[in-house]
Symmetry: C3
Subunit: 428 residues, 3 copies
Amino acid sequence: MLRKEQNDFVTQTGPGTPMGNLFRSYWIPALMAEELPEADCPPVRVKLLSERLLAFRDSEGKLGLIDEFCAHRGVSLWFGRTEEGGIRCPYHGWKYDVSGQCVDVPSEPAENGFSQRIKLNSYPLIEKGGVLWTYMGDPARQPPLPEYEFASVPLSQSFISKRFQECNWLQAMEGGIDSAHVAWLHRADINEDPLVSGAPGNKYNTSDLQPVFEVAESPGGLYIGVRRNAEDDRYYWRVTPWVMPCFTGVPPRGDHPIHGHFWIPIDDHQCWAWSYDFHPQRDLTDRERQLMKDGNGIHVTYVPGTYIPASNKSNNYRIDREAQRSNRTMSGIWGVGFQDAALQESMGPICDRTKENLAGTDNGIIMARHRLMKAAKALAEKGVTPPGVDPAHHRVRQATFFLKRDESFAEKVMDTMPHELGAPLITV
Amino acid sequence: MLRKEQNDFVTQTGPGTPMGNLFRSYWIPALMAEELPEADCPPVRVKLLSERLLAFRDSEGKLGLIDEFCAHRGVSLWFGRTEEGGIRCPYHGWKYDVSGQCVDVPSEPAENGFSQRIKLNSYPLIEKGGVLWTYMGDPARQPPLPEYEFASVPLSQSFISKRFQECNWLQAMEGGIDSAHVAWLHRADINEDPLVSGAPGNKYNTSDLQPVFEVAESPGGLYIGVRRNAEDDRYYWRVTPWVMPCFTGVPPRGDHPIHGHFWIPIDDHQCWAWSYDFHPQRDLTDRERQLMKDGNGIHVTYVPGTYIPASNKSNNYRIDREAQRSNRTMSGIWGVGFQDAALQESMGPICDRTKENLAGTDNGIIMARHRLMKAAKALAEKGVTPPGVDPAHHRVRQATFFLKRDESFAEKVMDTMPHELGAPLITV
Amino acid sequence: MLRKEQNDFVTQTGPGTPMGNLFRSYWIPALMAEELPEADCPPVRVKLLSERLLAFRDSEGKLGLIDEFCAHRGVSLWFGRTEEGGIRCPYHGWKYDVSGQCVDVPSEPAENGFSQRIKLNSYPLIEKGGVLWTYMGDPARQPPLPEYEFASVPLSQSFISKRFQECNWLQAMEGGIDSAHVAWLHRADINEDPLVSGAPGNKYNTSDLQPVFEVAESPGGLYIGVRRNAEDDRYYWRVTPWVMPCFTGVPPRGDHPIHGHFWIPIDDHQCWAWSYDFHPQRDLTDRERQLMKDGNGIHVTYVPGTYIPASNKSNNYRIDREAQRSNRTMSGIWGVGFQDAALQESMGPICDRTKENLAGTDNGIIMARHRLMKAAKALAEKGVTPPGVDPAHHRVRQATFFLKRDESFAEKVMDTMPHELGAPLITV
């Protein structure tokens, strides 16, 4: 349970807020690379951390992320024309380059230097691993590029998607680091979905409904371990790495590609839920890739022409009460991604954490909130660089393994979770 | 005319408001019985008096009305699965019985008593007369069940419907206790609608357009009498009983089934307008029942799959200007229920009573407001049980009759209006 | 750039605001004459300057503009029936004449004078030139009728349209007095649109992209002159007359009909953008009229049954990125009216002028704001009648002409712009 002021603190990420400044310490995903496919393609409106921005590629293919609105009289540059090294406002022809610098005010003589004095706010935008990343903080503190494995493997080994979600980012992320809900909300899916079923370890998720959480601090965040009883005096462990502020990996299932999420605030009431799949040692197969496109695994299908999930609040997530009644699904909703979205959005735009009652299986959530708030305060009060900024913190890997009941989880994960790019899966 | 603070006082019914506490002194209709038809049927989201609740039937058919949101992390239990004596949250399997008591937290060992300490707020929900009633007040003050005649006769003798209305409950109720508007807004209908036309008394409604209101206090509310001139030195009297906080009966017309309304706040900007028809001495005929289903009389037709009237704000109530021009309807809107909804909603979400100009025919409204405010204050300041809580107050009946011009209305209604269940209609 | 409090001052026009009082000093367009075509036609809801009003014609064809809501209990008189010299509320039959005077309260005896004491707020509504005009200010200060030429010529010589716009009136008007954007936003249109193309002067708009603004005060507002280089040591001048508070004329192009706009606040977030075309000396041809109906020139096509532009915010103004890429249009939007609406609306409901960076070509805008604020203050503080109230101020005409480079613009416009009704075009 949080007090009202704590809940406000940890959920608000607009300019000037402590959590907003925390988010502005990191490279965060801004767009799918497919949204800006080529030089001079149409620009895209992007709202991130409550700021309205415009992303575009210039005629040389360079990426820009600048204020959405022209510095002149405030019209949206989304109507702008990308041309010869910049984007030109269609109102009076003011032109900006990818850094937001105004490079032409046609009505003013070039020699008076008017345009040089005009610059829109802008952020770097770089492509890595099929994602366009931005850093919205103080340029003097800009960290090296992210080194998450999903974004470091060749594109042939990965599949990345995003979906629009109508709620605050934190309750979405809290769902993602909560391995306990899998046995309930996704129970049918771990047996039926071709992208997660068939793994030898799956059976423990439903045979032991009293998982025990053990959470260890990692340099960049947490290792959230969940153990369930297995045969031969062993535990079956699933370990979710969480890297601040919002990156996670779902523990692997057999040799399936591994996957995970990150959640980026659009504003305080909306977020992007990103989902990645990759295999560290091989290309995805055509079948796997097609299944992902078709909304299997953690991915979804869309309202055509948008990144809005096809099952959404406006259609009651196409709830199927008959499937629920016959116990084919717990929630009556089809698809892991739709299920997560439905329940997370049902909490309201911002979950009221003053009313919650946390249990032992929420230890990962409790510790993640604690680390977020502590890091935001340390940044605000002493300028301390938060965990997860250093790319070394990104090189962690989700894992499933067995341990003897008397073996130490903490020791195991400190050895196991950091990984080299392309190392074998740690999986059962 | 009310002052701003009076208008706020009498229209706001959320938790902690004086009028909200008044409403919480009564059994009020929460759902149609048809909305929860059988054991383990899908649950229904219900917002009442600005509280978001969930209604469901468990596997034994028992009715529950509990907080909509799981006590754990706040997801909506509307996605829950009803199973074996309760509803189970699909997120982590927490299960609640109809009293809101948590009876299972699967991740916790049963012996640690965790689930026993978790209880959602809940209210009793009972079926009577085709309606599911709830009492949202202090359990120590819970009154006996309501004894309104429409809900006490066999179901074969009654027909009940509800419709969603986009305005505060009070302006809707004020329309309902206002017999004067019948001669204008519903003028065509009293001559043409098969469920109200043909009564000998109807002619006086349109022949005397200066009705005189006489209002008597009843134990539970008011008897609102309206007299119009009739032949032979007589008055034709129509008497609307109003029982606090919001129950009325439309004066009868010949041998037609009798009908009336009650209005239940959803929140301060929306309400449910309920409509009932019944005959105290006989079953409704198949034809009568079909006419009601088809939106005749005071009932309406719906947007399919909802309780939203088919004529509504979004389609300008399907106004028919040609029918209005040719004087077939005063308002251009077809149907008594649609007419009432259109005009009441047109006042805005909450009618601004600081601007009104009341006339003699508004005496019933003036006295009803007065009783409501007085009772809410007496409850707040001295804990006085308000009128209308005692079921004896419910046993009143709408009536139409003749009196000689020198006969006393007050004496007549005190004798006439209280009634025995199944007594003959008092009608002209 | 304006300070926050200046931006609020100049954009807010509700009752009691200084700019609202300024607007209430003038006759302003309220409806198209076609909206109230004949006696006893359906009434029309009209929101102007944040006031909700009802316009109607009585059975004699007289025009009324009164409060939308019945003085009795507040229902919308839009549901009223126009009959015998007034409009009758369908709720209880209260009837009002075009002055807002209540002339019948059927439930009250005529002799008690009840209805005489009831009067709705009302404003005069008069038809002139295809437009219904109102004056919403102090009756004691009501000025003579407007004498704008577009509304003074025979209807056969004019074509008038309006469109709904989702933004504050001021940013729309600022677009209209800004001749500089024509060469960019409307570049393709001045060469292709049959209602503006072909004029000898058009070439200067695109050959000289550094127009110089010279602005002269006129008795009623401004003469906003824009000069561009032409041959033979001459300037090509385009002069936009602006008459307070919101009337403009687009400088003429050859012998095409001349056109212009006025923008009327609905509330602070919405306005009506009016567009007129007329020729001072001849009837419009059938072809010209048809082209205007089809959305050419400054007119638009509509969502059927409304005055909402067919290209609008909900459909991203049907942006055509391929046409933009191939440079057929700067903005990707087709049609001058749609282009203006798109960009003006993209600034948000109220443009944030604290962030703007004005250039030399914004001199007309700067001076217009200055005159508006100065006049609103003089009215508020000293009761000074603002410029543009005197109909003599309306008799100005847009113009295009050549001057030798050393000839005085100010002298020329003082001679040229005032005009007699039906005088020849001043055009190149």
